[in-house]
Symmetry: C2
Subunit: 196 residues, 2 copies
């Protein structure tokens, strides 16, 4: 019965239908906002009893923190194409798909909109971005090992440039992203823009 006494399950642990619970949590946040979303509603949507949720996550905050990191809706698989350019283009394409298809796009944008309006959510968003950066580090480490990047590469700057360009184009500007977007964007960051 030790699970009853843990504040939060370790990553990857959790009840049956854990992934459904996480997606339902983010959908509830996007639809209702953090104040109005309820554990009851999330339980019903994900097909579990609310006591199951409370057993693993003692509060809405704890559940949201876990959902942001592990919800399938916001999951971007890490590519391993054998070269940096291919890996980064896959990452950019994946983020484009995440932000421009539904329901993931609406959820990601609403979560961020909610965090902007509610500083209390900012900590969870920070945790989400820190987790994603840690996952992305493996792509950079492999590129350094292959000699494609210098060992002191600033992973956060590299990733923020690329992800930021996707957010600006797809969400802020609401412009269509053509098939060549990932290639052009990655090429600018890898090769620079000065005349050769």
């Amino acid at each position: 019965m030790t699970t009853h006494h843990r504040a939060e399950p370790a990553r990857g642990e959790g009840p049956r239908r854990r992934r459904q619970i996480f997606d339902a949590t983010l959908e509830a946040l996007a639809r209702d906002g953090f104040e109005s979303m309820t554990i009851e509603g999330i339980a019903e949507k994900s097909g579990v009893n609310k006591t199951t949720i409370y057993r693993w996550w003692p509060s809405k905050s704890a559940l949201l923190g876990a959902a942001l990191i592990d919800a399938p809706l916001l999951d971007l698989p890490m590519p391993d194409t054998g070269h940096l350019r291919g890996d980064l283009e896959h990452l950019v394409d994946g983020l484009v798909r995440l932000l421009t298809t539904q329901p993931s796009g609406a959820v990601a944008q609403s979560v961020l909109g909610a965090a902007v309006g509610d500083p209390g959510l900012a900590t969870y968003i920070q945790g989400f971005f820190a987790d994603r950066l840690a996952r992305e580090q493996v792509v950079i480490d492999r590129a350094v090992a292959r000699g494609e990047l210098p060992p002191d590469t600033d992973t956060m700057t590299l990733m923020d440039l690329l992800a930021g360009a996707v957010w600006l184009r797809a969400v802020f500007r609401r412009l269509p992203l053509d098939d060549d977007f990932a290639r052009r964007t990655v090429s600018t960051v890898l090769d620079g823009v000065r005349p050769s």
Copy 2:
């Protein structure tokens, strides 16, 4: 009396205390949201009669569209340092200041948060970003004329990479931006990241 019949004043025209009206409009949007903000409240805050506002902008939408583009709060002066690197570093530093000092940071973030939650505002945000890109084009045109950039430079991609990196770091990650941030970020985009 022709002004009574114009739907919207041309850019730069408008009543006395025009700039105060625009800043008050964005502050009201950030504080109250688009549905709740009122012309009356904006008039009171900016020290004019509400009929003055209605004479120039017949609706809240028209006023917001004009305010986003011309409010002093969101104004970033275009630099002219004589070289591209200096100009881009000034632009990045300016956006960092805009997003991380108050009240401009809270206003910019709230406007974007509101637009994410209200697709009806998206058109105004699009107009804002299109206007800023048009202003930034002069920086790129000068760099092309000096031979610092190829003539087919993709201005939007260049600007979205830089502005996106600022948004990611300052707003999404909520991490402090050190004094070297602009130099590093611009250097990555201009010079690329591959080992020399």
